[in-house]
Symmetry: C2
Subunit: 330 residues, 2 copies
């Protein structure tokens, strides 16, 4: 099978609603700053009614990653369910306009398109409140065998682990990928995902099903229930051929069977909204990886893409990422 | 009747869809750069399919002005029709969250909420393609007599002049305002509005119904079918007690029966998206006017509000306008 795609990702299809608030708003709402939580339709309506004017911008973690891969010149496909409503059409338009192959049919009944109510604080930290809506209905039939077989890397976001249908979709895609010799990549997404699905994530890693894992420092520590970043890295590298731990302003650590690379962050021109930094790091890294670059250069590409996305509101790239990579790596 | 509102505005209730494109896109699409045009649902769908990923941000000219007045500490109300759909709920949420009193019921049938597909060029110029949708259905019953009587200024946007229902709404609001001794303000909105409704606008002005008029240089010239800005200013000041001509980077000219003030622009920290500059100039000016400030200070407030809105994507203020005014005027 020809390599039609560099990366095929399965994830939650989300439109972000981004509003700026002072820290006092989070305190009043009793929402921990920097957290990500799943909320009901009723809580989404209640919280939205209290929020400042918003910007609606397509998001979704793995979807952001595919948009980044496309911006970097790669070929990406995305699988995730929206509803047949205005925000679902916005999501579908935006990801296709970004150059990503997106074919999942919209749900014509059931809940509306998933939304993430994002509070951005004055220090650019984001606090996410996600109403999954129709995201939870992506299922096995949405995973096209030929598309999975045609992708160098199949990428899953940890946020998918919860309702049964997306887990069926992941299981199918994973089985096709492994049978076809394709690489499987996983992002742990959030500490709450790790806490809720630690056993599943570990079992998947120990079975040899995960070729590449992305985690931030806290997710990695949580997975191995340790306070030591070194112990967490050791745990990851024991089970996974290639693991990347992102550490916010401290840069990233890449470990594989042959050793370890550490790269510093790429400085951002300004830091306005940190939403999507991890998603775009993964985009940069996987772009480099599928181009056959050195692991160090992959990580540098990750930091370049992450730096761009925190310079503006919204978790999809706006500037010319290929030019930025070229300026650094030639 | 007590002054419950500084400004009550009637306008098109629009959600902007803002995408960045090189000038070549406008050339391919054969859309004149910097223009504003009305498009059908079919043309909106066709153009949207060609557009880059968007940012959905509440807009609408007079709606932006009311959001600016609220941001400046004033009391504003807005009348305009959305549809009962997701973008309609976004519009209603955002204008209320901005502090504007917005009560117009959403249409439960008919076309969707109005949208403006905005192409922003690298030089920050905006080109607007508006699908009016349910905007055209604002009508007489949406104009609440008590609310009009309670507003110091009733503000109309020229964009409303086209379908019959909004014109009925304007006529009703104008009659109530005049009978109650309230000031009527009008923005000419765009040259295409002036070209289409020159006779109406002139008749309304000559009848003494317009107390305050806002026009940019081209609109003012078009109204009096002259190439001379001085002739246009002379024409406005003959018929209108207070006229303001905005001149982009050349600042603004204010004329009333007693004389003339000219103010330069307030420099923007950066110029990213010029959408809403005129709307926010009107917001700043009317805020000063309803606070009883000098005409020069009103115009300075207009330039301060306009400078802020061109620094970011979207036509509603994001920064602390009151602080910016205080820094200049004390």
């Amino acid at each position: 099978m020809a390599d039609l795609y560099d990366v095929l990702a399965i994830g939650n299809a989300i439109v972000d609603v981004i509003a700026s608030h002072e820290d006092s708003f989070l305190e009043e709402q009793q929402i921990p700053k920097g957290s990500m939580r799943l909320i009901s339709a009723a809580e989404a309506a209640r919280l939205y009614a209290c929020m400042a004017p918003g910007r609606e911008i397509s998001g979704g973690s793995a979807a952001n990653t595919t948009a980044g891969i496309a911006a970097l010149g790669g070929k990406a496909a995305f699988v995730g369910r929206v509803s047949d409503d205005q925000l679902g059409r916005v999501f579908a338009h935006d990801i296709r306009a970004a150059g990503v192959d997106y074919r999942t049919p919209a749900a014509t009944s059931g809940p509306p398109t998933g939304q993430c109510l994002i509070i951005v604080s004055p220090d650019a930290q984001r606090t996410m409140n996600t109403f999954l809506g129709s995201c939870q209905e992506v299922d096995e039939p949405d995973v096209d065998e030929a598309m999975v077989k045609a992708a160098k890397v199949i990428y899953f976001e940890g946020y998918l682990w919860d309702p049964p249908a997306p887990i069926r979709a992941i299981r199918k895609a994973k089985a096709i990928a492994k049978a076809s010799g394709r690489k499987v990549a996983l992002t742990l997404s959030d500490v709450f995902c790790v806490e809720g699905h630690r056993a599943d994530f570990l079992a998947m890693m120990k079975s040899g099903a995960v070729d590449i894992a992305f985690a931030n420092e806290n997710e990695a520590k949580s997975l191995f229930q340790t306070d030591s970043i070194e112990a967490a890295i050791e745990g990851l590298s024991t089970h996974i051929p290639l693991a990347i731990v992102t550490r916010s302003e401290k840069g990233a650590i890449v470990v594989n069977g042959h050793g370890r690379e550490e790269v510093p962050v790429t400085p951002a021109a300004r830091v306005l909204d940190t939403t999507g930094a991890g998603d775009l790091f993964a985009a940069g890294f996987l772009s480099g990886y599928t181009q056959g670059r050195s692991l160090k250069d992959c990580a540098i590409m990750g930091t370049i893409a992450a730096a761009e996305v925190i310079e503006h509101f919204g978790a999809r790239p706006e500037a010319d990422l290929q030019a930025r990579v070229k300026a650094v790596l030639g």
